[in-house]
């Protein structure tokens, strides 16, 4: 934990800056470059390899699907396009992973609020809903069980089940909004911020450099 890390806000900038360009770039090599660099950072951060392998497996059908559809139905240089799209899936995946798998969600949001002026309404709204996720899962179980006690079965494809979950979530959000207001939370107002993180200036430089390098290689050098 004491190892030096890149600040979450900088990571988000890198993710957006490169991610947006990937969408327009037509190069397998730069995609692979992104994959290699992000994987190096992930291993530097000692991200759980089990988790990484699992997410990679989840993404495999997507990569294979787009690869295969270009091979089967594409026109022109189908092999090149197929590999671009397949590698793009993994480039996106690991680019996202350097943010979401190395920093807790709370730190990402608070860091964005601290360094990039993300509104606190957005930060705490999102945080509150993330904290509710676990409860929604258990609510799903509760609703199904409540239905059983009343002699009906809500199968997982039953829309009533989801309608119920939505109603419950809406009511929670109303109660939560009231409680947050009464605890002094004010939209758009100043708050004390106890969250602190380390953001040396060179990290902004690093972000700019990486984004620029990617731009030069993808759009000017354009390797295969």
């Amino acid at each position: 934990m004491n190892r030096k890390r890149i600040n979450p806000a900088v990571l988000v900038i890198i993710m957006l800056g490169i991610g947006l360009q990937i969408t327009f770039a037509h190069s397998v090599f730069t995609n692979i470059g992104v994959i290699i660099i992000t994987c190096l950072y992930l291993s530097y951060c000692k991200t759980s390899s089990k988790l990484l392998i699992l997410t990679s497996l989840y993404a495999f059908p997507l990569a294979l699907g787009s690869w295969w559809s270009f091979i089967a139905f594409g026109t022109g240089d189908v092999w090149h396009i197929a590999w671009i799209y397949a590698s793009r899936v993994y480039a996106y995946l690991y680019l996202g992973a350097i943010v979401t798998l190395t920093v807790p969600i709370k730190d990402i949001l608070l860091s964005l609020a601290l360094h990039l002026n993300l509104s606190s309404t957005f930060v705490y709204g999102l945080l509150a809903s993330f904290n509710l996720l676990g409860r929604i899962k258990s609510q799903y179980k509760t609703i199904r069980y409540s239905a059983m006690m009343r002699g009906t079965t809500y199968h997982f494809w039953n829309p009533n089940l989801y309608l119920r979950i939505i109603i419950v979530a809406l009511n929670w959000s109303q109660d939560l909004a009231e409680a947050m207001t009464s605890q002094g939370f004010t939209e758009g107002a100043q708050r004390t911020l106890t969250y602190k993180d380390n953001l040396p200036k060179w990290q902004w430089g690093l972000a700019a450099l990486l984004i620029l390098l990617y731009f030069i290689f993808s759009f000017l050098v354009r390797p295969w």
Partner: protein
């Protein structure tokens, strides 16, 4: 700094075309005092608190006339962070008032909101948690705490805000009587020492004599707030004890070597008991001891070791959808019970699937609805009911289902004494008529004990039947 909170000529309604809930209400909150608000469920105890905290009409309802003035200024015009420094409120439902994940983060969040100096926040949060004996919970995830523990954390959040005026809406609904007495004494001491103004709404008026400076009641007839003489608090009937009965040995429902954990913590070490048919039992024990978890295990909603038997058959072989027709768990949180939108839809569903439809005739259901005073809300969306009305509806829809084993988790929380008596009579009557086995968790003992046939006590990882050798 002098502070004042005044309600002037207030008329408030939930929807424009319905009757107002308060009509030309005038009220001045007596500052530096300890006050208690009583009134039947659904009379507007939560509503008046939310109005005086500035949350309504922002979040619900319409103010037709009148003003609510905090220090002479209309309260809804004051920004929330400024308001929270003067007025704080503790909500009835403990689990839905936390924005953050852990106990400590929650306190920090509240202090940040009111722009408390950054370097003092940790110190302040630590002091408050220590004062409420919550320090060991500091890093616990809020959603894993028991109802009573959550309510204490919510209380800590409010005390951290240091507001001079504090509204507590049914704060003890999920708290055992011993902790209730401790917290009441602490609140009184704090009120005097720190010159606070405390206004509590409670359905249970015991133990307030000598603490309270003013007693108020919401009068439904005049839609107004009335001050009552304090003598009402000291003329309470004595608590009766459970009359020991020799119950027949007719149990159809039992458990053998039952045990379970929460995380690493053992809540129940192997325990064997059975519950008789046709009687109502009480399950008592301290907060967080594992009473609700026992119900969850018996209902197959929580992993356990050991066996649960029904009619001599181990339940582990019975599929959940069939088991749910044998054991009903009436949840602490009423809204978890509802699966339809409106009150009448909930009742119709129970009636058409009732396991004893010959008993629950249309007339009997109608009678029960009338007695529980739910007739005028049949068309309402069940979420819009007051806390007490939800409790009554929830109990009724399960009583109509009539499972042979019914486990009620705090069915009386937030109910006034007359609603409680009606509901308990209904539970008792159904249990007797249908020969069911009923077990109730209730922190509220007044008005309950005299109707109970036996008591189980959960303590130190074991459950024993009181009055047995």
């Amino acid at each position: 700094m002098s502070i004042s909170l005044k309600v002037e000529d207030l008329t408030f309604t939930y929807s424009k075309d319905s009757e107002p809930i308060f009509d030309n209400l005038d009220f001045t909150l007596p500052i530096n005092s300890f006050n208690l608000l009583i009134g039947p469920s659904g009379s507007g105890k939560s509503t008046i608190f939310k109005l005086m905290s500035g949350l309504y009409p922002q979040y619900n309802g319409t103010k037709k006339s009148g003003r609510i003035l905090l220090n002479g200024q209309e309260i809804t015009d004051i920004v929330p962070f400024e308001r929270a420094r003067h007025v704080a409120m503790l909500f009835q439902n403990p689990s839905r008032q936390f924005a953050m994940k852990t106990v400590f983060e929650q306190l920090v969040f509240a202090l940040e909101n009111i722009q408390y100096p950054a370097h003092l926040i940790t110190k302040k949060a630590t002091t408050v948690l220590n004062n409420l004996n919550l320090w060991q919970f500091k890093d616990r995830v809020l959603q894993t705490l028991s109802g009573g523990e959550q309510q204490r954390v919510a209380l800590a959040t409010i005390l951290a805000l240091d507001s001079p005026i504090i509204f507590l809406d049914e704060p003890f609904a999920n708290i055992d009587s011993a902790s209730r007495l401790v917290i009441l004494a602490e609140l009184k001491q704090m009120q005097i020492a720190q010159h606070k103004t405390i206004f509590i709404s409670d359905h249970d008026i015991s133990n307030y004599a000598g603490l309270v400076n003013h007693l108020y009641e919401i009068k439904l007839s005049s839609k107004n707030l009335l001050e009552l003489p304090l003598s009402k608090l000291s003329k309470l009937p004595n608590q009766t004890k459970i009359v020991k009965k020799n119950l027949p040995d007719n149990a159809a429902f039992s458990w053998h070597n039952l045990s379970f954990h929460i995380g690493e913590r053992l809540l129940l070490s192997p325990n064997s008991l059975s519950i008789p048919k046709g009687y109502v039992g009480l399950l008592s024990g301290d907060n967080g001891i594992g009473k609700s978890t026992l119900f969850a295990a018996l209902a197959h909603q929580k992993k356990y070791s050991g066996n649960i038997f029904y009619n001599g058959k181990p339940s582990e072989k019975i599929r959940l959808n069939n088991w749910a027709k044998i054991v009903a768990n009436i949840f602490q949180n009423s809204s978890d019970q509802f699966i339809k939108l409106r009150v009448n839809e909930e009742l119709e569903l129970s009636q058409s699937n009732s396991l004893h439809s010959e008993y629950w005739t249309a007339k009997r259901v109608q009678d029960a609805v009338n007695k529980l005073n739910l007739t005028h809300v049949l068309e309402h969306v069940n979420y819009q009911l007051s806390g007490g009305q939800q409790k009554k509806l929830q109990a009724l829809i399960i009583l109509i289902m009539s499972q042979p084993v019914m486990l009620f988790d705090e069915p009386f929380a937030g109910l006034d004494i007359s609603s409680l008596a009606i509901l308990l009579t209904l539970i008792k009557q159904t249990t007797k008529d249908l020969d069911s086995s009923t077990l109730i968790i209730s922190h509220q003992r007044r008005g309950v004990i005299e109707h109970i046939d036996y008591e189980f006590l959960m303590r130190a990882q074991t459950i024993t039947r009181l009055g047995e050798p």
